[in-house]
Amino acid sequence: MSKGSVLILGARSDIGLAVAHEFARKGHALQLALRDPAAFETARADLALRHNVPVSLHAFDALAVETHAEFLDALPELPEIAICAVGLMGDQIESERDMSAAIRVIRSNFEGPASILGHLANRFDQRGSGQIVGISSVAGLRGRATNYVYGSAKAGFTAFLSGLRNRLAGRGIDILTVLPGFVATRMTEGMDLPARLTCQPEDVAQAISRGLERKRSVIYVRPVWRLIMAVITSIPEPIFKKMRI
């Protein structure tokens, strides 16, 4: 008998996959939502075989917001837990020159995730239960020259989650915001990340699992990031605008 099902949006990402393993290991059935299910069949078979739980694949396009309600209606059941690992780092320089690239980053990190989680929140509210996890970013805590397009979209997403939490408090629905800091994934492959500040996708997955158990609101995967961001957000703007970090 498997535990309540977990919907993972953006399951192809390294964090999405690590989260899938974490929850399957604990005995949850999985619904994996991603753009190209056919290319994920090997990973699906692996998850089902290793953890002996049902795993289903569902085509999902985070940017096609008009399809989101339909997507949820087509799921075999409304999940107990929904985890959104959808995101797109993009390239800051390209986003500065080409507004269509910037819009894609903004829609992938804010509009798409907000749309699907908005639909889910309403359905969870109707049922009176459910847990929602949004993987946002410390980049959303202050806009910096080096990645403000991505950061601003994540800021929007973080605020959306915060509002959702506020709205649904006391209605049996938990909203968890995750701010991972640097994670060693396909998105950051080839970047020179400081080892002490960088965690693995598995660390993010475990932090999410713990965060849900303890009904936390906002978690940093590595506590040091709370401190770093406290410093960065407290620098006065006249000074900050001249800094390059």
């Binding site: 090997t42 692996d46 290793r50």
Partner: protein, 440 residues
């Protein structure tokens, strides 16, 4: 960035590529001097490419399992630890396992690893049904004992020099519990140890820790550990109710290199003597969980740092049965004389083995490790000569410093393997730092 094996010696500049898709893997395999790397548990330079090192860590998915036959099909980067985690709760255990569970299936095939049951069941290769191998033509070839048998024969034990193993079908064995009934037998000298091994030919598992610094009459004193998978009927209480659940183990992690000099002949001699006498007190039968019996060292992550920053070397040879007593005596005397012994000396009886290039042979195997320094490197040369003299051979998964002429003299199959590699176009395409060093 640097690459090395588990012994952290020798060290090479460079970095492994880690393709994520089959197309990217095929592209990465299409180079000169390519070698696949699993979890980096070969001790020396086996998994460092002569030209390019291709990490298989993203090919770590299990594909299918047939509970009627126990056949698991999985990608080569799957770790044995993951196989155990997935299938022991369902009553299946690897048919052959080496002394660590942190090896990849591809690595197990390449080294044709053996376990504590070699005397009865043979090496890992005996439980491989088929392999998918990326060859010099850039395509994937399925091979087995029936299909492309020559490729199969050389790939099992071929140290990755026949192409990149992508997928494998391996057979697991059914077990009734996660517990091992261990019989611990202290043996005062080498003759007693060998006699005990010969008397224990029916035991499923047998291995001995040997005090390689004991001298004179105590030369070769050992603790023999015999093991059987415990049946349901042997368990009581909670263990009988939940036969596949074992207490969670505390993992320790050695996060720093032990300073040089902490391990010297006095401390290691004292440690070994204590270990022996402590074992002698605990003689007899006990129930051990699978992890403690098969993988005691895995409980200390990063134990390879115990020998310090410069790394360590392992020596493992096999001696033919009729020369074992004589050969082991000579090897142990040489080690004891040099006084630079190791904690982790292991003696094991091997069974019959007929394969193209695999390490085991009917007889005994002795494994020792040493910190890297000029003295031990000289000692290892001496151990090589003793092994050669007694008709023995060497385990390439442990080797990091052997000379090519030593390999050729020890094993007539090496020249045959090199010739086959040349004839099939493997030699240019697939090569490791080790195969270059050994002219394979």
């Amino acid at each position: 960035m640097t690459l090395s094996g588990w012994g952290r010696f020798p060290v090479f500049p460079g970095q492994a590529q880690a393709p994520r898709t089959e197309a990217a893997l095929l592209a990465a395999a299409a180079g000169q001097g390519v070698i696949a790397r699993g979890n980096g548990r070969a001790y020396g330079d086996s998994a460092v490419g002569a030209g390019r090192t291709v990490s298989m860590r993203h090919f770590n998915r299990m594909l299918s399992f047939d509970p009627a036959t126990g056949v698991l099909v999985a990608e080569a980067g799957v770790l044995l630890a993951d196989v155990i985690a997935a299938f022991l709760p369902r009553g299946w255990f690897p048919a052959v396992t080496p002394g660590t569970k942190f090896v990849s299936l591809g690595g197990m095939v390449a080294a044709d690893v053996h376990g504590k049951n070699h005397h009865k069941d043979g090496s890992f290769g005996a439980f491989v049904d088929w392999l998918d191998v990326i060859g010099p033509d850039g395509g994937v070839t399925r091979c087995s004992r029936q299909e492309n048998p020559e490729l199969f024969r050389w790939t099992v034990g071929g140290m990755g020099l026949t192409g990149i193993v992508l997928r494998a079908a391996i057979r697991l064995r059914p077990v009734e519990s996660a517990w091992i009934r261990q019989d611990l037998v202290p043996l005062p000298d080498l003759d007693a140890a060998l006699a005990a091994f010969e008397a224990a030919e029916d035991a499923s598992y047998s291995v001995a820790w040997i005090d390689c610094l004991a001298r004179g009459k105590a030369l070769g004193r050992s603790l023999l550990m015999l093991g059987e998978h415990a049946t349901r009927a042997e368990l009581t209480g909670d263990r009988a109710r939940y036969p596949f659940e074992t207490p969670a183990k505390r993992r320790r992690n050695l996060r720093f290199d032990l300073p040089r000099g902490v391990l010297n002949s006095h401390t290691v001699r004292a440690f070994n003597a204590l270990y022996y006498w402590n074992g002698a007190r605990r003689r007899g039968t006990s129930l051990l969980d699978w992890d403690s019996y098969f993988y005691p060292l895995d409980a200390i992550l990063g134990w390879n740092r115990i020998y310090g920053r410069k790394g360590f070397v392992q020596f493992q040879c096999a001696l033919p049965l009729e020369r074992s007593r004589e050969g082991l005596t000579a090897l142990l005397e040489a080690v004891s004389d040099a006084g630079t012994g190791s904690f982790l000396a292991v003696l094991k009886r091997l069974g019959l083995q007929e394969s193209a290039f695999s390490f085991p042979m009917l007889g005994y195997t002795l494994a020792l490790d040493f910190p890297v320094n000029d003295r031990t490197l000289a000692l290892l040369d001496r151990l090589d000569r003793i092994t050669l003299y007694h008709g023995g051979r060497f385990y390439l998964a442990k080797d990091s410093r052997m000379r090519p002429e030593t390999l050729r003299a020890s094993d007539a199959r090496a020249a045959e393997f090199a010739a086959w590699r040349e004839a099939t176009g493997m030699r240019q395409r697939f090569a490791s730092a080790q195969s270059e060093r050994l002219s394979l």
